[in-house]
Protein backbone atom coordinates (compact mmCIF):
# COMPACT_ATOMS: atom_id res chain seq x y z
CA UNK A 1 0.00 0.00 0.00
CA UNK A 2 1.26 3.45 -0.85
CA UNK A 3 1.42 6.47 1.42
CA UNK A 4 -1.32 8.98 0.81
CA UNK A 5 -1.95 12.44 2.19
CA UNK A 6 -5.09 13.13 4.20
CA UNK A 7 -6.07 16.81 4.44
CA UNK A 8 -7.89 17.28 7.73
CA UNK A 9 -10.70 19.83 8.15
CA UNK A 10 -10.03 22.48 10.76
CA UNK A 11 -12.63 21.25 13.31
CA UNK A 12 -11.08 17.76 13.28
CA UNK A 13 -7.51 18.84 13.86
CA UNK A 14 -7.92 18.47 17.59
CA UNK A 15 -7.46 14.74 16.85
CA UNK A 16 -4.27 15.24 14.83
CA UNK A 17 -2.56 17.51 17.35
CA UNK A 18 -3.27 20.44 15.05
CA UNK A 19 -1.80 18.89 11.91
CA UNK A 20 -3.55 19.99 8.71
CA UNK A 21 -2.13 17.05 6.77
CA UNK A 22 -1.27 13.55 7.88
CA UNK A 23 -0.04 10.49 6.04
CA UNK A 24 -1.99 7.25 5.91
CA UNK A 25 -1.91 4.02 3.96
CA UNK A 26 -4.77 2.34 2.17
CA UNK A 27 -6.17 1.54 -1.26
CA UNK A 28 -9.72 2.50 -0.36
CA UNK A 29 -11.14 5.38 1.61
CA UNK A 30 -12.21 2.91 4.32
CA UNK A 31 -8.65 1.67 4.72
CA UNK A 32 -7.33 5.20 5.00
CA UNK A 33 -9.93 6.02 7.64
CA UNK A 34 -9.10 2.84 9.57
CA UNK A 35 -5.46 3.88 9.52
CA UNK A 36 -6.40 7.30 10.84
CA UNK A 37 -8.50 5.74 13.59
CA UNK A 38 -5.57 3.63 14.78
CA UNK A 39 -3.39 6.72 15.06
CA UNK A 40 -6.07 9.15 16.22
CA UNK A 41 -8.68 7.22 18.20
CA UNK A 42 -12.21 8.60 17.96
CA UNK A 43 -11.62 10.55 14.77
CA UNK A 44 -13.40 8.14 12.42
CA UNK A 45 -16.64 8.28 14.37
CA UNK A 46 -16.75 12.05 13.93
CA UNK A 47 -16.94 11.49 10.17
CA UNK A 48 -18.55 8.08 9.68
CA UNK A 49 -21.71 6.77 11.34
CA UNK A 50 -22.50 3.29 12.68
CA UNK A 51 -23.72 2.14 9.25
CA UNK A 52 -20.47 3.27 7.60
CA UNK A 53 -22.26 6.23 6.03
CA UNK A 54 -20.53 9.57 5.64
CA UNK A 55 -22.05 11.95 8.16
CA UNK A 56 -24.17 14.72 6.63
CA UNK A 57 -21.86 17.52 7.76
CA UNK A 58 -18.82 15.85 6.19
CA UNK A 59 -17.72 15.53 2.58
CA UNK A 60 -14.83 13.42 1.34
CA UNK A 61 -12.94 13.95 -1.89
CA UNK A 62 -10.25 11.76 -3.47
CA UNK A 63 -8.41 14.58 -5.17
CA UNK A 64 -11.31 16.43 -6.77
CA UNK A 65 -13.57 13.35 -7.03
CA UNK A 66 -16.39 13.22 -4.52
CA UNK A 67 -16.56 10.06 -2.42
CA UNK A 68 -20.10 8.81 -1.80
CA UNK A 69 -19.24 5.55 0.01
CA UNK A 70 -16.15 4.74 1.99
CA UNK A 71 -15.55 1.47 0.14
CA UNK A 72 -14.70 3.45 -2.98
CA UNK A 73 -11.10 2.99 -4.11
CA UNK A 74 -8.67 5.86 -3.97
CA UNK A 75 -7.31 4.80 -7.36
CA UNK A 76 -4.42 6.94 -8.48
CA UNK A 77 -5.40 9.85 -6.24
CA UNK A 78 -2.78 10.61 -3.63
CA UNK A 79 -4.81 12.95 -1.43
CA UNK A 80 -8.00 12.44 0.55
CA UNK A 81 -9.67 15.73 1.49
CA UNK A 82 -11.94 15.77 4.53
CA UNK A 83 -14.31 18.73 4.37
CA UNK A 84 -16.43 19.67 7.35
CA UNK A 85 -19.28 22.16 7.57
CA UNK A 86 -18.10 25.26 9.40
CA UNK A 87 -20.43 27.50 11.30
CA UNK A 88 -18.41 30.49 12.46
CA UNK A 89 -19.26 33.89 11.12
Amino acid sequence: MIDRTVRVASPLRSYTQGAASVTAQGDSVAELLDGLERRFPGMRFRMIDEQDGIRPHIRLYAGTREIRAILEPMGAETTLHIICALSGG
Binding site: P11, R55, A85, S87, G89
Partner: protein
Protein backbone atom coordinates in the same frame (compact mmCIF):
# COMPACT_ATOMS: atom_id res chain seq x y z
CA UNK B 1 -33.01 57.89 -13.39
CA UNK B 2 -29.35 58.47 -14.17
CA UNK B 3 -26.56 58.85 -11.67
CA UNK B 4 -26.02 62.21 -10.01
CA UNK B 5 -22.77 64.12 -10.44
CA UNK B 6 -21.71 63.01 -6.95
CA UNK B 7 -22.45 59.39 -7.78
CA UNK B 8 -20.52 59.60 -11.04
CA UNK B 9 -17.51 60.87 -9.11
CA UNK B 10 -17.92 58.36 -6.28
CA UNK B 11 -18.23 55.35 -8.58
CA UNK B 12 -15.77 56.57 -11.22
CA UNK B 13 -13.50 53.51 -10.94
CA UNK B 14 -16.52 51.26 -11.51
CA UNK B 15 -17.69 53.33 -14.45
CA UNK B 16 -14.30 52.81 -16.08
CA UNK B 17 -14.86 49.06 -16.09
CA UNK B 18 -16.68 47.82 -19.17
CA UNK B 19 -18.14 45.02 -17.04
CA UNK B 20 -19.82 47.57 -14.76
CA UNK B 21 -20.14 50.91 -16.51
CA UNK B 22 -23.11 53.20 -16.15
CA UNK B 23 -25.69 50.48 -16.72
CA UNK B 24 -24.05 48.18 -14.17
CA UNK B 25 -23.77 50.92 -11.58
CA UNK B 26 -27.46 51.67 -12.03
CA UNK B 27 -28.20 47.99 -11.52
CA UNK B 28 -26.21 48.06 -8.29
CA UNK B 29 -28.15 51.12 -7.18
CA UNK B 30 -31.45 49.45 -7.95
CA UNK B 31 -30.43 46.27 -6.11
CA UNK B 32 -31.53 45.22 -2.65
CA UNK B 33 -29.07 43.02 -0.74
CA UNK B 34 -29.46 41.73 2.79
CA UNK B 35 -26.52 40.69 4.94
CA UNK B 36 -27.47 38.14 7.59
CA UNK B 37 -25.11 38.40 10.54
CA UNK B 38 -23.15 41.63 10.92
CA UNK B 39 -20.13 39.91 12.43
CA UNK B 40 -16.75 38.87 11.08
CA UNK B 41 -18.03 37.97 7.63
CA UNK B 42 -20.86 40.47 7.46
CA UNK B 43 -18.58 43.39 8.33
CA UNK B 44 -16.33 43.37 5.27
CA UNK B 45 -19.14 42.15 3.04
CA UNK B 46 -21.43 45.01 4.09
CA UNK B 47 -18.66 47.62 3.90
CA UNK B 48 -17.78 46.64 0.34
CA UNK B 49 -21.41 46.37 -0.72
CA UNK B 50 -22.14 49.82 0.69
CA UNK B 51 -19.03 51.30 -0.88
CA UNK B 52 -19.97 49.70 -4.19
CA UNK B 53 -23.29 51.50 -4.23
CA UNK B 54 -25.82 48.77 -3.52
CA UNK B 55 -28.96 50.88 -3.37
CA UNK B 56 -30.66 49.15 -0.45
CA UNK B 57 -28.62 47.22 2.06
CA UNK B 58 -30.37 45.31 4.85
CA UNK B 59 -28.45 44.30 7.98
CA UNK B 60 -29.84 41.52 10.15
CA UNK B 61 -28.34 40.98 13.58
CA UNK B 62 -29.91 40.71 17.00
CA UNK B 63 -26.70 40.97 19.01
CA UNK B 64 -24.91 43.86 20.60
CA UNK B 65 -21.30 44.81 19.95
CA UNK B 66 -18.85 43.27 22.42
CA UNK B 67 -15.27 44.31 22.94
CA UNK B 68 -14.08 40.86 21.83
CA UNK B 69 -15.82 41.40 18.46
CA UNK B 70 -13.55 44.27 17.47
CA UNK B 71 -10.59 41.98 16.67
CA UNK B 72 -12.34 41.06 13.40
CA UNK B 73 -15.71 42.80 13.08
CA UNK B 74 -14.43 45.88 11.31
CA UNK B 75 -17.81 47.58 11.04
CA UNK B 76 -17.54 48.70 14.64
CA UNK B 77 -15.54 51.05 16.80
CA UNK B 78 -14.75 50.81 20.48
CA UNK B 79 -17.44 53.39 21.21
CA UNK B 80 -20.04 51.03 19.70
CA UNK B 81 -19.59 48.44 22.48
CA UNK B 82 -22.97 47.52 24.03
CA UNK B 83 -24.83 49.06 21.10
CA UNK B 84 -27.06 47.13 18.72
CA UNK B 85 -24.97 45.70 15.90
CA UNK B 86 -27.66 46.31 13.31
CA UNK B 87 -27.96 49.97 14.29
CA UNK B 88 -24.22 50.58 14.72
CA UNK B 89 -23.63 48.94 11.34
CA UNK B 90 -26.33 51.09 9.73
CA UNK B 91 -24.72 54.25 11.10
CA UNK B 92 -21.29 53.25 9.84
CA UNK B 93 -22.50 52.20 6.41
CA UNK B 94 -24.62 55.32 5.97
CA UNK B 95 -21.61 57.43 6.89
CA UNK B 96 -19.50 55.53 4.37
CA UNK B 97 -22.04 56.03 1.61
CA UNK B 98 -24.93 58.46 2.19
CA UNK B 99 -26.18 57.75 -1.33
CA UNK B 100 -27.57 54.36 -0.29
CA UNK B 101 -30.34 53.26 2.01
CA UNK B 102 -29.35 51.02 4.92
CA UNK B 103 -32.10 49.11 6.69
CA UNK B 104 -31.24 47.71 10.13
CA UNK B 105 -33.15 44.60 11.23
CA UNK B 106 -32.27 44.18 14.89
CA UNK B 107 -33.98 40.82 15.20
CA UNK B 108 -33.27 37.14 15.43
CA UNK B 109 -34.15 35.23 12.28
CA UNK B 110 -36.72 32.55 12.95
CA UNK B 111 -38.99 30.36 10.87
CA UNK B 112 -41.78 32.91 11.39
CA UNK B 113 -39.93 35.96 10.06
CA UNK B 114 -37.24 34.69 7.68
CA UNK B 115 -39.62 34.60 4.71
CA UNK B 116 -40.71 38.21 5.18
CA UNK B 117 -37.12 39.43 5.47
CA UNK B 118 -35.70 37.45 2.54
CA UNK B 119 -38.66 38.29 0.29
CA UNK B 120 -37.76 41.97 0.52
CA UNK B 121 -34.35 41.56 -1.10
CA UNK B 122 -32.80 40.43 -4.40
CA UNK B 123 -29.65 38.78 -3.02
CA UNK B 124 -28.88 37.29 0.40
CA UNK B 125 -25.39 37.24 1.92
CA UNK B 126 -25.18 34.88 4.87
CA UNK B 127 -22.42 35.30 7.41
CA UNK B 128 -24.31 34.14 10.46
CA UNK B 129 -22.56 32.27 13.23
CA UNK B 130 -25.29 29.73 13.93
CA UNK B 131 -25.75 26.58 11.93
CA UNK B 132 -29.53 26.67 12.39
CA UNK B 133 -29.65 30.16 10.87
CA UNK B 134 -27.64 28.96 7.88
CA UNK B 135 -30.31 26.33 7.11
CA UNK B 136 -33.13 28.77 7.78
CA UNK B 137 -31.66 31.29 5.33
CA UNK B 138 -30.87 28.62 2.75
CA UNK B 139 -34.37 27.20 2.90
CA UNK B 140 -35.94 30.64 2.58
CA UNK B 141 -33.75 31.46 -0.43
CA UNK B 142 -34.63 28.18 -2.13
CA UNK B 143 -38.36 28.58 -1.42
CA UNK B 144 -38.43 32.19 -2.61
CA UNK B 145 -36.02 31.77 -5.52
CA UNK B 146 -33.40 34.15 -4.16
CA UNK B 147 -29.67 33.82 -4.80
CA UNK B 148 -27.58 33.19 -1.69
CA UNK B 149 -23.89 33.72 -1.02
CA UNK B 150 -22.90 31.85 2.10
CA UNK B 151 -19.58 31.57 3.92
CA UNK B 152 -18.29 30.24 7.22
CA UNK B 153 -15.04 30.29 9.17
CA UNK B 154 -13.19 28.29 11.83
CA UNK B 155 -9.78 29.18 13.30
CA UNK B 156 -7.63 29.59 10.14
CA UNK B 157 -10.00 28.02 7.61
CA UNK B 158 -12.94 29.33 5.65
CA UNK B 159 -15.39 28.11 3.05
CA UNK B 160 -17.81 29.80 0.66
CA UNK B 161 -20.39 28.88 -1.95
CA UNK B 162 -23.12 30.53 -3.98
CA UNK B 163 -26.60 29.24 -4.60
CA UNK B 164 -28.34 30.44 -7.72
CA UNK B 165 -31.90 29.17 -8.21
CA UNK B 166 -32.08 26.63 -10.98
CA UNK B 167 -28.34 26.60 -11.57
CA UNK B 168 -26.86 24.30 -8.92
CA UNK B 169 -27.09 22.77 -5.50
CA UNK B 170 -28.00 24.61 -2.32
CA UNK B 171 -26.34 24.57 1.08
CA UNK B 172 -28.39 21.52 2.04
CA UNK B 173 -27.11 19.69 -1.03
CA UNK B 174 -23.61 20.37 0.23
CA UNK B 175 -24.26 19.51 3.86
CA UNK B 176 -27.70 17.92 4.31
CA UNK B 177 -27.55 18.26 8.08
CA UNK B 178 -24.76 19.83 10.06
CA UNK B 179 -26.70 20.21 13.27
CA UNK B 180 -24.77 17.37 14.88
CA UNK B 181 -21.45 18.41 13.43
CA UNK B 182 -18.43 19.77 15.23
CA UNK B 183 -19.67 23.29 14.74
CA UNK B 184 -17.77 25.21 17.38
CA UNK B 185 -18.27 28.96 17.43
CA UNK B 186 -15.51 31.52 17.08
CA UNK B 187 -15.75 32.08 20.82
CA UNK B 188 -15.05 28.42 21.54
CA UNK B 189 -12.51 27.67 18.83
CA UNK B 190 -10.87 31.03 18.22
CA UNK B 191 -10.48 32.67 14.84
CA UNK B 192 -7.75 34.63 13.11
CA UNK B 193 -9.06 38.19 12.96
CA UNK B 194 -8.30 38.77 9.31
CA UNK B 195 -9.75 35.42 8.16
CA UNK B 196 -13.37 36.63 7.78
CA UNK B 197 -12.03 39.63 5.88
CA UNK B 198 -10.97 37.33 3.05
CA UNK B 199 -14.21 35.35 2.99
CA UNK B 200 -16.49 38.36 3.50
CA UNK B 201 -14.83 40.19 0.61
CA UNK B 202 -15.41 37.12 -1.56
CA UNK B 203 -19.08 37.17 -0.57
CA UNK B 204 -19.40 40.81 -1.59
CA UNK B 205 -17.70 39.97 -4.89
CA UNK B 206 -20.19 37.21 -5.59
CA UNK B 207 -23.17 39.40 -4.69
CA UNK B 208 -21.96 42.13 -7.03
CA UNK B 209 -21.39 39.62 -9.85
CA UNK B 210 -24.88 38.22 -9.30
CA UNK B 211 -26.38 41.69 -9.67
CA UNK B 212 -24.27 42.61 -12.66
CA UNK B 213 -24.83 39.24 -14.32
CA UNK B 214 -21.10 39.05 -14.92
CA UNK B 215 -18.38 36.47 -14.43
CA UNK B 216 -18.35 32.93 -13.16
CA UNK B 217 -20.11 32.33 -9.87
CA UNK B 218 -19.25 29.87 -7.11
CA UNK B 219 -22.31 27.85 -8.06
CA UNK B 220 -21.89 24.11 -7.55
CA UNK B 221 -18.44 24.72 -6.15
CA UNK B 222 -17.29 24.88 -2.55
CA UNK B 223 -14.29 27.15 -2.16
CA UNK B 224 -12.07 26.47 0.82
CA UNK B 225 -9.37 28.76 2.12
CA UNK B 226 -6.53 27.89 4.47
CA UNK B 227 -4.86 31.02 5.82
CA UNK B 228 -1.90 29.17 7.31
CA UNK B 229 -0.74 27.71 4.03
CA UNK B 230 -2.37 30.48 2.00
CA UNK B 231 -4.16 28.07 -0.28
CA UNK B 232 -7.52 28.04 -1.99
CA UNK B 233 -9.12 24.78 -3.08
CA UNK B 234 -12.29 24.07 -4.96
CA UNK B 235 -14.61 21.09 -4.64
CA UNK B 236 -17.52 20.52 -6.97
CA UNK B 237 -20.87 19.37 -5.68
CA UNK B 238 -24.12 18.61 -7.44
CA UNK B 239 -27.72 19.33 -6.63
CA UNK B 240 -29.20 16.36 -4.79
CA UNK B 241 -32.49 15.15 -6.26
CA UNK B 242 -33.45 14.09 -2.71
CA UNK B 243 -32.53 17.45 -1.15
CA UNK B 244 -35.15 18.47 1.39
CA UNK B 245 -35.03 22.08 0.18
CA UNK B 246 -34.27 22.12 -3.56
CA UNK B 247 -34.79 18.46 -4.51
CA UNK B 248 -37.36 17.02 -6.87
CA UNK B 249 -39.91 16.67 -4.07
CA UNK B 250 -38.93 19.30 -1.52
CA UNK B 251 -40.18 18.77 2.01
CA UNK B 252 -39.21 22.22 3.30
CA UNK B 253 -41.15 25.27 2.19
CA UNK B 254 -40.72 28.68 3.73
CA UNK B 255 -43.78 30.90 3.53
CA UNK B 256 -43.82 34.68 3.41
CA UNK B 257 -45.91 35.95 6.27
CA UNK B 258 -46.26 39.53 7.39
CA UNK B 259 -43.37 40.77 9.47
CA UNK B 260 -44.56 41.06 13.06
CA UNK B 261 -45.12 44.66 14.09
CA UNK B 262 -42.42 44.37 16.71
CA UNK B 263 -39.87 43.46 14.04
CA UNK B 264 -40.48 46.26 11.59
CA UNK B 265 -37.23 48.15 11.15
CA UNK B 266 -36.86 50.78 13.87
CA UNK B 267 -34.08 53.32 13.99
CA UNK B 268 -34.08 55.00 17.39
CA UNK B 269 -32.98 58.60 17.49
CA UNK B 270 -29.70 58.77 19.37
CA UNK B 271 -29.21 61.94 21.36
CA UNK B 272 -25.69 62.71 22.50
CA UNK B 273 -25.54 64.19 26.03
CA UNK B 274 -24.82 67.66 24.70
CA UNK B 275 -27.69 67.43 22.23
CA UNK B 276 -30.11 66.41 24.96
CA UNK B 277 -28.79 69.11 27.30
CA UNK B 278 -29.37 71.76 24.65
CA UNK B 279 -32.85 70.43 24.02
CA UNK B 280 -33.71 70.55 27.72
CA UNK B 281 -32.25 74.03 28.09
CA UNK B 282 -34.37 75.44 25.27
CA UNK B 283 -37.68 76.68 26.77
CA UNK B 284 -39.34 76.49 23.36
CA UNK B 285 -38.60 72.77 23.00
CA UNK B 286 -38.04 71.33 26.45
CA UNK B 287 -41.74 71.04 27.17
CA UNK B 288 -42.09 68.49 24.39
CA UNK B 289 -39.41 66.22 25.84
CA UNK B 290 -40.36 63.23 27.96
CA UNK B 291 -37.50 61.57 29.79
CA UNK B 292 -37.99 57.94 30.80
CA UNK B 293 -35.35 56.34 33.00
CA UNK B 294 -35.54 52.58 32.43
CA UNK B 295 -33.13 51.50 35.16
CA UNK B 296 -34.29 49.66 38.25
CA UNK B 297 -35.91 51.71 41.02
CA UNK B 298 -32.86 51.54 43.30
CA UNK B 299 -30.58 52.83 40.56
CA UNK B 300 -33.02 55.63 39.85
CA UNK B 301 -33.19 56.56 43.52
CA UNK B 302 -29.41 56.89 43.72
CA UNK B 303 -29.39 59.64 41.12
CA UNK B 304 -31.25 60.66 37.98
CA UNK B 305 -31.87 63.51 35.58
CA UNK B 306 -34.23 66.24 36.72
CA UNK B 307 -37.71 65.67 35.36
CA UNK B 308 -37.11 62.01 34.45
CA UNK B 309 -39.83 59.46 35.14
CA UNK B 310 -38.88 56.04 36.45
CA UNK B 311 -40.24 53.15 34.38
CA UNK B 312 -38.00 50.07 34.65
CA UNK B 313 -37.27 48.28 31.38
CA UNK B 314 -39.51 45.31 32.18
CA UNK B 315 -42.47 47.67 32.46
CA UNK B 316 -41.92 49.28 29.08
CA UNK B 317 -43.26 46.22 27.30
CA UNK B 318 -46.50 46.32 29.30
CA UNK B 319 -47.51 49.85 28.40
CA UNK B 320 -49.16 51.39 25.41
CA UNK B 321 -46.93 54.06 23.90
CA UNK B 322 -47.74 57.03 21.78
CA UNK B 323 -46.51 60.58 21.65
CA UNK B 324 -48.08 63.81 20.42
CA UNK B 325 -46.70 65.18 17.17
CA UNK B 326 -43.51 67.10 17.68
CA UNK B 327 -42.76 65.54 21.04
CA UNK B 328 -39.67 63.51 21.83
CA UNK B 329 -39.57 60.50 24.13
CA UNK B 330 -36.04 59.78 25.29
CA UNK B 331 -35.18 56.58 27.13
CA UNK B 332 -32.30 56.71 29.55
CA UNK B 333 -30.22 54.06 31.28
CA UNK B 334 -26.73 53.67 32.65
CA UNK B 335 -24.75 53.05 29.44
CA UNK B 336 -27.21 52.92 26.56
CA UNK B 337 -27.92 49.19 26.25
CA UNK B 338 -31.17 49.02 28.20
CA UNK B 339 -32.48 52.25 26.70
CA UNK B 340 -31.99 50.79 23.22
CA UNK B 341 -34.06 47.76 24.20
CA UNK B 342 -36.63 50.15 25.60
CA UNK B 343 -36.77 51.93 22.23
CA UNK B 344 -37.61 48.66 20.49
CA UNK B 345 -40.14 47.69 23.15
CA UNK B 346 -41.90 51.06 22.98
CA UNK B 347 -41.87 50.92 19.17
CA UNK B 348 -43.58 47.53 19.41
CA UNK B 349 -46.31 49.20 21.41
CA UNK B 350 -46.93 52.18 19.22
CA UNK B 351 -44.20 54.78 19.78
CA UNK B 352 -43.26 56.19 16.40
CA UNK B 353 -39.81 57.67 16.88
CA UNK B 354 -38.21 56.54 20.12
CA UNK B 355 -35.05 58.25 21.26
CA UNK B 356 -32.27 57.27 23.61
CA UNK B 357 -29.53 59.05 25.50
CA UNK B 358 -26.39 57.92 23.71
CA UNK B 359 -23.89 56.42 26.13
CA UNK B 360 -26.40 56.66 28.96
CA UNK B 361 -25.96 58.53 32.21
CA UNK B 362 -22.29 57.62 32.33
CA UNK B 363 -21.79 59.71 29.20
CA UNK B 364 -24.01 62.45 30.65
CA UNK B 365 -21.92 62.58 33.84
CA UNK B 366 -18.73 62.73 31.81
CA UNK B 367 -19.89 65.44 29.42
CA UNK B 368 -22.49 67.50 31.24
CA UNK B 369 -22.80 66.96 34.97
CA UNK B 370 -19.94 65.30 36.87
CA UNK B 371 -21.90 65.65 40.13
CA UNK B 372 -24.54 63.18 38.95
CA UNK B 373 -24.27 59.94 40.90
CA UNK B 374 -24.74 56.99 38.53
CA UNK B 375 -25.46 53.74 40.33
Amino acid sequence: MGLSAAEIERYGRHLSLAEVGLAGQERLRAARVVVVGAGGLGSPAALYLAASGIGTLGIVDCDQVELSNLQRQILYQTSDVAQSKALAAARRLSALNPEISVVPHALELRAENVGAIVAGYDVVVDGSDRIATRYLVNDACVSLGKPLVTAAIHRFEGQAMTYQPGAGGCYRCLFPDASAGPAASCAEAGVLGVLPGVLGALQATEAIKLILGQGELLVGRLLTYDAMELSFREFRFARRPDCAACGDTPRIRVAVGPLPADELPVTPRRLAPRELAELLADPARSGAVRLIDVREAAEFAAGHLAGAESIPLAEIDRLRWNAPDGSVTVFICRSGARSLRACFAAARHGLQEPGQLEGGLLAWAAAIDPTLHVA
